[in-house]
């Protein structure tokens, strides 16, 4: 059974030597750890993800980062340079294609080749493993801001080796957050182990004086996820990462659409992650937050998409997120052009800049919502601790198996998938079907009452149809789904 225990160096190096054989680019001389450490130490502060985040946090800024990635190296570099210059991006990503995410490096290679032939990217991201450390290093040297891999890869061990060796000082993902929403049958035990490896790698760099940021993936399925559920996953993954020696963590959260719930979520996310890290004995981890602009279905209309993006930016800034992941006016169609991507960035940038000295004032409603989230997180974390008899890794596997933690709409078979969420009258995400979710009766009562209120108002029952209406709502320009008859 997987355990929350730091991987001993020797074991790590042994696994490492196997991992590097998964694809031919694993044999690059640049993957020598000692030389990588030297290379990474030489990175100037403004290109180090962890350091730039620390500075932003101290200044109270909300920095912005897009999603972006294409198949061909040259085109990818042009894309990133464009987003830095024309999009004023503070951080750059390389969004990895879906074949690489599933370790299908041959498919990815075919995608690159076909993209070369057709002269346009047929992959939905940058196949970093195929391009190898050399390619990734070229990317890194072509830009002036820190780089991060963003993916959704259950087994990202080779990928992580390659990107860090290339000077990318942040990696998104985690054993739960890159499994449950991104896979179907791979077990949580396996993915937690894989990600312990990725974290251990970062721990290795940290031990050798190189700061690297890690970012558990916050929004999960991006679809009506109650904050406490994504918070719980973020906290678990932070603890797992800290155990492996990670020192700089950015926990994430996807916009719900209700301003109070969003700001309450951002605040409790930071606060509770810090609290639980300390509780479990990890004292020296620097925690920041990342806010994801609306992660569900987008409106088709580009002007409306821009409105949604900018509204999200307002919330991120007032909620004092340290980073925000931006979307684009092309979201509902497909991978955006670089122009559309830069426009999304600029619309976001002006909002966060204008609001840099402002925050949402404290209020009773905010405090109440924060308190509810805290209580829910406490229920869920307690269940994990109990199931694992104190071991967070073990506990997580068991808690998911029993549905004590449950993510709505996730594709994974290892997720119980019984809970059903819907919005209350002012749009806060609540739960009406709890399955086996480890929440107290008091909390369940609270949720059900909130949704009964809405049902009464709308003159219908709380049902899956309400959930569907809510899923469709934002793309049709409203937050709380309306009964069909009313449309």
């Amino acid at each position: 059974m997987v355990e929350n225990k730091k991987i001993p160096l020797e074991e790590f190096l042994k696994i490492r030597s196997e991992i590097l054989h998964h694809w031919k680019t694993g044999s690059s001389p640049l993957l020598d750890l000692d030389s990588s450490v030297e290379r990474l130490k030489a990175i100037p502060d403004h290109k180090n993800f962890a350091k730039k985040l620390k500075k932003a946090k101290q200044q109270g800024l909300t920095l912005i980062q897009p999603r972006a990635g294409v198949a061909r190296l040259k085109e990818h570099i042009e894309l990133l340079q464009f987003l830095e210059k024309e999009g004023e991006a503070d951080f750059l990503p390389s969004t990895i294609d879906s074949y690489t995410r599933q370790n299908r490096y041959q498919n990815a290679q075919d995608g690159i080749d076909e993209s070369e032939r057709k002269g346009r990217s047929l992959l939905n991201g940058f196949p970093c493993v195929n391009h190898g450390v050399e390619g990734c290093l070229e990317v890194f040297e072509s830009v002036n801001v820190p780089l991060q891999a963003r993916h959704g890869t259950p087994d990202a061990r080779l990928l992580s080796e390659i990107i860090h060796a290339a000077g990318w000082t942040s990696n998104e993902g985690g054993g739960i957050s890159y499994n449950i929403p991104y896979a179907k049958s791979i077990s949580l035990e396996d993915t937690i182990r894989y990600w312990q490896y990725c974290d251990r790698l970062v721990g290795y760099y940290e031990e050798h004086g190189v700061e690297i940021n890690r970012e558990p993936y916050g929004p999960l399925t991006g679809t009506l996820v109650p904050p406490s559920i994504s918070h719980t996953v973020a906290i678990i993954e932070s603890i797992l990462a800290a155990e492996q020696g990670v020192k700089n963590i950015t926990v994430g959260y996807g916009q719900s659409g209700n301003v109070i719930q969003d700001v309450a979520a951002l605040r409790t996310l930071e606060e509770e992650t810090n609290r639980y890290l300390k509780l479990f004995g990890y004292e020296d981890v620097f925690v920041t937050t990342v806010f994801h602009q609306w992660m569900g279905g987008f409106p088709k209309d580009e002007a409306k998409a821009m409105g949604l993006i900018s509204m999200a930016s307002t919330v991120a800034a007032l909620g004092k997120a340290t980073k925000m992941i931006t979307k684009t006016a092309h979201e509902s169609f497909g991978v955006p052009t670089k122009e559309a991507n830069a426009e999304g960035l600029r619309a976001s940038k002006i909002v966060t800049s204008l609001l840099r000295d402002q925050k949402l004032a404290d209020s009773d409603e905010l405090q109440e919502e924060m308190e509810i989230i805290r209580k829910e997180v406490a229920c869920l974390i307690e269940a994990v601790v109990y199931e694992g008899k104190g071991d967070i890794a073990k506990g997580s596997v068991k808690a998911f198996k029993k549905g004590l933690i449950d993510v709505p709409f996730a594709p994974s078979q290892h997720n119980s998938g019984r809970i059903l969420p819907a919005r209350d009258t002012d749009g806060k995400i609540r739960i009406f079907e709890f399955g086996n979710l480890a929440m107290s009766d008091e909390i369940k009562e609270f949720h059900r009452n909130k949704l009964k209120e809405r049902a009464t108002l709308e003159g219908r029952d709380v049902s899956f149809q309400m959930t569907i209406d809510d899923i469709y709502a934002v793309s049709s320009g409203i937050l709380v789904g309306k009964p069909q008859e009313e449309l």
Binding site: S98, S121, L122, H330, S332, F333, P336, T337, P411, I468
Partner: protein, 134 residues
């Protein structure tokens, strides 16, 4: 009750639409055979054979659809499914492309119906009734 196979092809994990399609087509009176996300062409084809399905509704959201469905029609025909209707929908290509061209490309590959971004499953029920009845 007519059977239809639904699923998400390739390395694609977008599960939300798939769950809704399941619910909506079931409510509309079909026997929905849902093979879920991360499904291969073979998964679709075996499910269709096993359940005597009249239509296969392929979802592809993540952009690799164009590569994943290559020779799907031919493979169906080979498996003796030449009468089965093939639908495809979601975000079936990478990026914002002209839908008329995209539709043509997929029809040329043998799909009977092709749906663009944001076209909900609800919009397709009339077609399904037309093509295979209930």
């Amino acid at each position: 009750m007519k059977s239809v196979v639904i699923g998400v092809i390739g390395a694609d994990v977008h599960a939300v639409g798939n769950k809704i399609i399941d619910h909506v087509l079931s409510s509309a009176g079909y026997n929905v055979v849902n093979i879920g996300v991360l499904s291969s062409q073979e998964d679709f084809i075996s499910a269709a054979i096993e359940t005597d399905a009249k239509a296969i509704l392929v979802s592809s959201l993540y952009g690799h659809g164009e590569m994943d469905v290559k020779f799907f029609r031919e493979n169906c025909d080979e498996a003796g499914l030449s009468d089965v209707k093939l639908y495809v929908g979601g975000n079936i290509v990478v990026g914002k492309q002209d839908f008329n061209e995209v539709e043509k490309r997929f029809k040329d590959m043998g799909f009977d119906r092709v749906y663009g971004p944001g076209q909900k499953i609800e919009d397709a029920i009339t077609h399904l009734k037309e093509d295979i009845g209930i």
